[in-house]
Symmetry: C2
Subunit: 384 residues, 2 copies
């Protein structure tokens, strides 16, 4: 186990009655609330009204229209509005995209310069005064509700990158699993896959004897394997929604990544793809993960892949056999959730590999042991 | 899964170089440091000197002599000293007893009345101004380094009780597993048993479908079963010390107890015992736990006991068979760590049962389903 510090000051308020705390928790921070949200599904499913009913005693302004893979071009408009309004608190009502975008608003409203600087410097350039952020979560996937990370796309240059600082950790996050009953099947599946991938990125490492972290990660994956199929069949199963929601938050609140080497090459490879093509992040992860496992996991991280196969999938045999079967199990699991397993099915041509590799090699190094160009090409080529 | 909120703002600084952060973390809070510790083992093993080297630029006063099962009689003296000194921060250097005692100092120094009021009202009566608390941990067991709980004994009336509030959660806790290399074998064993018991108290519940919490709890128990025997044989195994230390903190930082029914009858029954007899808390838990399992676990919580047997001990059979074998496994595990498994071995006579039961029935209700007098008598009687 490596040295680490674990500091996560977000108050995580979970359950059927979680939203009842919104007014009292908000009042602790201030009066002026800047409510941010996405494409408007919260107006259809009633969550917008429930939130606003809690905020009748507050001075509220709102900004809607933060898109999936949130774009700095959109957020600059929100920042301009926030500069005018000078809110005490930003309340992001939505999923990872809305929350990620709102983190940039929190971090850049009082920054003298372009908001993209915050991303480009990985949070080094940031406003001295950060606006406190809170969230009402409507889709469990990114765990943005319990961490300081934010992934933003610059559409004009096809860049997708992130910054991360505990300064934009939500002060509180309200997670009512019932709010996810009306999610489309594909989005429910993507939430499970995104979470599973977050766990693998931290779990398939070369660190020895990080037993607590390993057991927690395995426990979260077993939870997803148990409840993932249920949620697709019974979208209003509270137990399924609750366990998936809690697992998603625990998967990326820095806990299971404490004191271990982390990889994240799969995520980085995917960010390149969804920087060019507007496909869901988790859809890209589902395609890339098994290929990353084949080209990197089986060689650099065979022992851990075998542990994964034994403890998560109950497999037995030699390390090589178990690791190979574990890849198949992972693929089958994703496929059983109804997602496409090649980029071809997404309408992307394999002639694009050169373009993807070129973009990928020009980013920061990817992976616990950085991938070389050859490995990137092998992984991408296998995805079609 | 039940509704919950999880809020744990302690900065948990872990590893071989964790103490290097002490000066910078302390400086964020203030200049005047009230260092508290126990019987003086930190002077023998060098930790006292290492801490003081970090604090050369601070205004330091110290209070030593906080005993195991810390007594309000001792802490009143520390509170009197703190009232005079008016520290910016209390730095508890020690194990659970020193930290628990220091929480009372933090909570009661500016309270107008006797410190025991804080305990007697479970933290309802408490100073308006709490002194920030930080810790340097030297024994992993109680998880006091990551929670707001404090167990205090009033020796003059044989009472042992607790208060709990996030207001006395440590601001930061420094956990260097190497500091535990020199612990005596029995204290190492007690740390493992105390932690195992904390997990069981939260895990053997009647809540359905709290899968994340169950998997985390099981993962922590598997960690202790793996590393507990190692630490007794190789007290300077970093991996063993690190995993036991991290597991101990995770066992009682409110995480695995979120959204589930909790029991704690075993702890309450033990507090009665160690209120009368000065035996280590974990030694009492080792004796009582298997008897609680037999008299309560097998009836009220059979399904969960069976899950415990299957997932933690790898047993198979009917629920009844697996649950019964799981009790034996638990007993054998504790015994393998070298602890006494009856109160008779501790020199306590079975004629004391009536006294113990009388004290126990006059406390707050114990257990997820409160124990009646008959059940208490059955459990205690079985412990000799």
């Amino acid at each position: 186990m490596e040295d680490f510090s674990f500091y996560n000051p977000t108050n995580y308020i979970f359950g059927k009655n979680a939203l009842d705390s919104l007014a009292s928790e908000t009042a602790k921070i201030g009066k002026k609330v800047f409510v941010t949200y996405g494409g408007g599904s919260i107006k259809k499913n009633g969550i917008y009204d429930k939130v606003m009913q809690q905020l009748t005693d507050f001075d509220v302004q709102e900004f809607g229209g933060i898109e999936p893979n949130p774009r700095v071009e959109t957020l600059r408009k929100a920042i301009a509005q926030a500069k005018e309004f000078q809110p005490d608190i930003i309340l992001a009502v939505g999923g990872g995209s809305t929350i990620d975008g709102s983190k940039l608003i929190a971090a850049a409203t009082y920054y003298d310069g372009d908001a993209w600087d915050v991303i480009a410097t990985k949070g080094e350039k940031i406003a001295a005064k950060i606006i406190p952020l809170a969230t009402v979560l409507t889709i469990s996937a990114t765990a943005s509700e319990v961490n300081g990370g934010s992934v933003i796309t610059k559409w004009e240059t096809n860049e997708k990158d992130y910054f991360s600082t505990v300064k934009v950790n939500p002060v509180f996050s309200i997670v009512n699993p019932e709010f996810q009953y009306s999610l489309p099947v594909d989005q429910s599946a993507y939430g499970v896959i995104d979470t599973f991938s977050h766990i693998l990125e931290q779990y398939i490492n070369q660190t020895e004897h990080a037993t607590v972290q390993d057991r927690f990660a395995e426990g979260l994956m077993l939870t997803l394997i148990e409840w993932g199929p249920v949620v697709l069949k019974e979208p209003t199963s509270y137990s399924a929604r609750a366990n998936i929601a809690f697992a998603a938050s625990m998967a990326l609140n820095n806990l299971i990544g404490s004191g271990v080497g982390q990889d994240w090459a799969t995520h980085e490879l995917e960010h390149v793809v969804s920087g060019f093509y507007d496909i869901p992040h988790a859809a890209g992860l589902a395609v890339i993960t098994p290929r990353w496992m084949k080209h990197i996991g089986l060689t650099q991280k065979l022992a851990k892949m075998a542990q994964y196969g034994r403890r998560v999938w109950g497999l037995s045999g030699t390390n090589e056999e178990v690791a190979q079967q574990a890849i198949n199990k992972t693929s089958e699991f994703f496929e059983s959730l109804g997602v496409k397993m090649t980029f071809s099915e997404w309408g992307i041509s394999s002639t694009e590999v050169a373009k993807l590799v070129e973009k990928a090699v020009n980013r920061d190094p990817m992976g616990e042991i950085p991938l070389n160009e050859e490995q990137m090409r092998a992984i991408y080529s296998d995805c079609f």
